[in-house]
């Protein structure tokens, strides 16, 4: 059989003496400690230490982010902003914790401060967060419908041969570096937007949203398409057998069944979009003002968090308050992406329970 032939080929690499080795002795009286030590100094321990490397790297990143942002958090930790908030929520009794420059209130003030003006030492990152939300939200509004419909098309309507060409092309789209996206956006999209919408300058949140949506589309399309294809054939066959049209089957049977996978893909795309730096840096304009709460928000120049760090880090003195504030922004970013990842994992595990395999 073919399998045995393959096994033969593979096992050619085994050491010569495997068949003639003495049986390993089993010591019934092994001490607990010695067993762990033996396992540690074996290949298992060595590779185990390697596996811990990801954990160590994450801890290192978190440690240095916190260490460098402590100055700004302590400095902003004087509770005159959080006190009204707490009283309003009914926790006025706990106001005693606000009397010191502690880090928690510092974090609250940092995140809710609405002016980012480093020259006058005003470090509130609400405009930056709002900028990120506007750009990412716009990107999701564009990319989610297009991505989901495209995934439906690829899994249900597209002939197999064409699909095998289109899927690699979409994956190539994911591989294009973000500077190239930003560069093309800066040179072509920005003037075009200024012309179409009669704006002064095309460097707006809308340009960032469009570029970002192109960047996250491959994520949504590939993962959603996997999810829709993974729906058991029985669902579809049963629906068709009951007389539904293909369209109705897709809409009312397949999509609801694949909703976990599609949601996972959307959340992963959000995570990717939140962390995107270079493309939004080059096309979003970079003015740290709060965007207005209307449709006009897409036509104003914004400064997302990642762009703020990239643009201002080069010019701040190491150890200054501005430097520390930028690390605070980095810490907030890290926290947000950790949260997004956590939610995606939760949804993934729910999907596992439902279908018995990931996505």
């Amino acid at each position: 059989m073919d399998l045995i032939g393959r096994l033969r080929k593979v096992f050619r690499n085994l050491p010569v003496d495997v068949l003639t080795r003495p049986a390993p002795s089993v010591d019934v009286l092994q001490l607990r400690g010695k067993e762990y030590l033996r396992r540690f100094f074996s290949p298992e321990g060595f590779t185990g230490v390697c596996a811990l490397s990801s954990f160590i790297i994450t801890i290192l990143i978190l440690f240095f982010l916190i260490q460098q942002s402590l100055p700004i958090l302590q400095e902003m930790g004087y509770g005159q902003y959080a006190l009204p908030l707490l009283s309003g929520l009914g926790y006025g009794d706990y106001a005693w914790i606000l009397n010191n420059g502690n880090i928690v209130t510092g974090l609250i003030n940092f995140v809710t401060g609405s002016t980012w003006y480093p020259k006058y030492l005003s470090f509130g990152i609400l405009p930056l967060i709002a900028g990120t939300l506007v750009v990412v939200g716009g990107a999701m509004l564009i990319a989610v419908p297009i991505g989901i419909f495209s995934a439906i098309h690829l899994s249900e309507y597209c002939p197999l041969k064409i699909k095998n060409i289109i899927k690699p092309i979409i994956e190539l789209l994911a591989g294009i570096p973000s500077v190239v996206y930003g560069f093309v956006g800066l040179i072509f999209l920005v003037p075009w937007l200024a012309g179409v919408f009669s704006l002064r300058s095309g460097q707006t949140a809308l340009a960032g949203s469009i570029i970002l949506s192109i960047m996250i589309l491959p994520t949504i399309v590939t993962i959603s398409e996997d999810a829709i294809s993974a729906v058991p054939k029985e669902y579809k066959e049963a629906s068709l057998a009951l007389g539904a049209t293909h369209f109705q089957t897709v809409w009312k049977v397949l999509l609801p069944a694949a909703i976990s996978g599609i949601t996972a893909s959307i959340i992963l795309a959000v995570g990717r979009a939140l962390g995107e730096t270079m493309a939004v840096l080059m096309v979003c304009g970079g003015v740290a003002n709060m965007p207005p709460l209307s449709l006009q928000m897409f036509f104003t120049s914004v400064k997302p968090m990642t762009a703020a760090i990239a643009a201002e880090m080069g010019e701040t003195a190491v150890g200054s308050v501005h430097y520390s504030a930028l690390f605070g922004v980095g810490l907030v970013l890290f926290g947000i992406t950790y949260l997004v990842n956590f939610i995606a994992d939760l949804i993934n595990s729910r999907f596992k329970k439902k279908f018995g395999r990931a996505r």
């Binding site: 200024a194 002064r200 300058s201 460097q203 003015v287 201002e312 080069g314 010019e315 003195a317």
Partner: protein, 309 residues
């Protein structure tokens, strides 16, 4: 033939990996012998330099000074074989590098702030500025229908525009078209911005857009009608500049002659910053000597600034 016929994906992958590895290793091994230029004879060219060609000079700092550093670096390398590294970061970065003793030299387009002076004193560093070029803050503008020489402003008017008092061109001068002004500024850490704000007396600014460097400023102004911005002399070649009223009330355009004669009211010196006076015969002394010599200043003029000798 048999080997090619049975090209499994495993073999393909291994072959590609091996090729990549060979390419990487050979690149690292071969390049010193192909691409490094032979060293110049130091004694012949710079008789009193006492250092080694393997020394490096790291000039970080103002993006305004960067074209000068970029122009001088290959020339200096050709004479001495020294590696001159040029990076941007703003004047703040240049001062920080010298204050924290990261590099013996930095580039700055503004004078040090009180914060920087106190940090330098705390570190035992004396900030010494060596002027290498003359620059001017040019007010650049874009009003359709008007051309170079049509816009004359006083420093006060510019300050009003940037602090939001004037929001329409017609408030600036009744002969201008009645359109809202699109104000473009620089990012918070910029030395050019600091210079502009102290020179023109601007406090809290209200801008419609912030750019991060001179080139962006110029292209933004060029592409936005009814906009105003400011930039450095070397970048203002292709954009309309406003004539600013000097001390006596006459309007001067930011030309090289006006800047050299200090007639244009918003000039500044571009400097290299060092810790104290460099020791005679050291690499930094040699470098500064080179920059202030004929050939260095010729490079300065080529870049677009005004020579200081």
């Amino acid at each position: 033939m048999k080997a090619i016929r049975s090209l499994t994906p495993k073999k393909t992958a291994l072959i590609i990996l091996i090729l990549l590895g060979i390419a990487a290793i050979s690149a690292f091994v071969i390049y010193p012998y192909i691409f490094v230029k032979p060293q110049q004879d130091l004694q012949k060219t710079l008789g009193f330099y006492t250092g080694q060609p393997s020394d490096t000079i790291n000039i970080a700092g103002s993006t305004t000074v960067m074209p000068i550093s970029l122009a001088i670096a290959p020339l200096f390398h050709e004479f001495t074989g020294v590696n001159v590294q040029v990076s941007a970061g703003g004047s703040g970065q240049g001062y920080s590098n010298v204050i924290d003793r990261i590099s013996p030299i930095g580039a700055a387009s503004r004078s040090p702030s009180s914060d920087e002076l106190s940090r330098a004193a705390a570190n035992g560093v004396t900030l010494t500025l060596h002027p290498i070029a003359l620059d001017a803050i040019c007010i650049i503008w874009n009003i359709p229908g008007l051309f170079q020489g049509d816009l004359k402003l006083t420093k006060e008017q510019v300050a009003y525009v940037y602090s939001g008092v004037y929001t329409n061109w017609i408030q600036v001068n009744s002969s201008l078209p009645p359109f809202p002004i699109y104000v473009i500024g620089r990012e918070p850490g910029s030395g050019t911005r600091q210079n502009f704000e102290s020179n023109f007396g601007v406090g809290y600014t209200k801008v419609s857009q912030e750019v991060t460097n001179n080139q962006d400023m110029v292209s933004s102004v060029l592409s936005t009608p009814y906009s105003i911005g400011y930039c450095s002399l070397a970048y203002a070649a292709n954009v309309y500049t406003a004539e600013i009223a000097g001390a006596g009330g006459t309007f001067y355009a930011p030309t090289k002659e006006n800047v050299k004669d200090k007639l244009y009211p918003a000039t500044r010196e571009l400097c290299y910053v060092t810790n104290g006076i460099p020791i005679a015969g050291s690499l930094i002394a040699m470098f500064l000597y080179f920059v202030n010599s004929t050939i260095g200043q010729q490079a300065v003029e080529l870049v677009g600034y005004v020579s200081i000798i």
